[in-house]
Symmetry: C2
Subunit: 359 residues, 2 copies
């Protein structure tokens, strides 16, 4: 990690982590003949295919937490043990989860260039994997020591005490909003696939019943109304199924991204505590230096370190905010697009049913 | 009542009650200064305005039941005693109910030309009203005696035993279907004005909360996403209100007409019993005549009477079926039209929200 601009750190409002091109990583689930564990195929744009078991992902996750956890919110891995783990649905769901996880990791300008991650996506053989693994586990620049690896740009600045509070307030509010969105969308999913579906199917049945009753009439004009009503019945039955299928189209993505951010946002209080600790310590050393209880050199070293922490975490927060904004923009746009599709489909179905009454 | 074709009775499948032009009767609620009872203004197309209290409608209803109840299903009067009877809502609802009632009565070719009804809509003054009332109450051609007033056309025929069963089966099935439709649409109304409204308002609030959380961010790009999300929040809030207002637009009419038909269909078992009784008696007299236990003249009188009953009730059933078909055609068409309007409105709102994400 350095400050040559490739993924360096810059001070002030415009602090950002610059990203260079992100390798496209595609996860495919394969099943080894001799194992109950699934093998995972990581395909990078250089056409390297590497195979990893779930436990390798778990190893990577633990290393990332250990090394970067104090400055970067590391997304939670999708769970390993789900009761339906060997079903097709499980394979699909976990593959989707791992894909989202690796996408986020590989988009991060620091993690994606880190030795651990590069080792993970470029492992050549078992021997190579094991030696890289040993090296990573011996890395001493973990936890608070990560800052020793960071070379700040010349203009880095120490944040004042209010800024961490603002970050914290934002992370807490957004965390609460995201958790609320999860609850509301989960309830909506349950309603769409449960009571709403059955309600529309009941409405459909009520119309079909009226149609069937008309069939029992001795009235000559019964056929047209009977057919039209049967069509209305089928229409509401279809609408029930449209509601049932809808969450897969729209709510699902919103739910997945929100669950991801719920985890990421929960990391911030700890990260911001690191920042607050560094700033407080710098202010303390400034006071101590004024009364000559520490040397100027000692004070400057602490202030320098706090500046590095400030710039690093501010850069991380900017990166996070950009990701959050883009992810929600994209996901809600997709959600609304699918909602428009659904309501248009229902409108068209009802319009067709309406036309059946032109007799 | 006669068979000159104006509202005469014809035999066979095409038996029908011919309707001539129906006077437009408009009910308006007025409030007498000296009374807690509302006065009702019946406006006919000849520009006669007559005033009736609710008890006069009740009197007319009782007379109609007494005179025509054995051959014509008489719609129930809207209830008099509703807890909120003096509120504006009550006045509107009862006026609507009385309007529907008088419309149906005035569309009936026999009732609309009957002396009682003509007296009701053309009363001149209190003296005139009272004398007409006395005459009507002295009328002896009520109940089964109504048939003595009916002059069948020359081709009238005696129905066979199966036909009344078909009518009964139809009336029972349709009655059940209509009651089911009432239950389902009432449930749907409750859901639209209750849980669906609050669900969409909750979804709206969840998006507004995310928007408010973005406002707390220190990120420069927060404004566009914040505004777009606030708009989505407002959109779902609006959608909640669209659902809340919808039943007044669509379900209401379907519910009103279904409640009316629930009452009308419940009259048929008694009417069909009259028909079955007459047919059975005719068949019995035919057998008795074969063994000379009754004279040919006696038998012919009974068969003639059963033929009159058959033709009259078949004509009534045809009239009823035509009304039922037209009413449901019109009401469901209206219902679907309003449903299309609602879903289009929601689609447009969501499309507008989607466009806010083009930043």
């Amino acid at each position: 990690m350095n400050s040559n601009g490739e993924h360096g750190l810059f001070p002030g409002q415009n602090v950002e982590l610059l990203m260079d091109s992100v390798p496209a990583i595609k996860i495919e689930e394969t099943c080894a003949a001799d194992s109950h564990y699934e093998e995972i195929d990581v395909v990078e744009d250089t056409n390297i295919s590497v195979y990893h078991r779930y436990k390798h992902f778990d190893w990577l996750y633990c290393r990332l937490i250990e090394k970067f956890g104090s400055i970067i919110p590391i997304p939670l891995l999708p769970e390993k043990d789900i009761p339906w783990r060997y079903s097709d649905d499980f394979v699909q769901a976990r593959m989707g989860g791992l894909q989202a996880w690796i996408n986020r990791i590989s988009r991060h300008p620091i993690i994606s260039h880190s030795e651990i991650f590069q080792h993970f996506i470029r492992r050549r053989d078992e021997k190579d994997w094991k030696s890289g693994k040993r090296n990573a586990e011996k890395d001493e620049a973990v936890g608070g020591m990560i800052f020793s690896e960071i070379m700040p740009s010349s203009e880095f600045r120490l944040l004042n005490g209010e800024e961490p509070e603002k970050y914290l307030t934002f992370a807490k509010c957004m965390g609460e909003s995201v958790r609320n969105l999860i609850t509301v969308t989960e309830e909506h999913t349950t309603r769409c696939t449960g009571s709403l579906k059955s309600e529309y199917i009941k409405i459909g049945k009520a119309f079909s019943d009226i149609s069937a009753s008309f069939a029992k009439s001795t009235y000559l004009g019964k056929e047209s109304i009977g057919n039209a009503l049967a069509f209305v019945g089928k229409t509401y039955d279809d609408i029930g199924n449209v509601y049932f299928d809808q969450p897969k189209q729209d709510v699902h993505c919103l739910l997945e991204i929100s669950k991801e951010y719920k985890g990421l946002l929960a990391c911030f209080p700890d990260i911001i505590n690191v920042l607050k600790g560094a700033i407080e310590k710098a202010h303390e050393y400034e006071k101590l230096a004024q009364v000559n209880k520490v040397t100027m050199k000692e004070k400057e070293a602490i202030v320098f370190k706090a500046g590095v922490v400030s710039s690093t975490i501010q850069a991380e927060i900017n990166h996070f905010n950009r990701e959050l904004t883009n992810d929600y923009k994209e996901t809600i746009q997709h959600f609304l697009y699918e909602q428009v599709q659904m309501y248009s489909k229902i409108t068209d179905k009802l319009r067709e049913a309406y036309a059946r009454f032109e007799f």
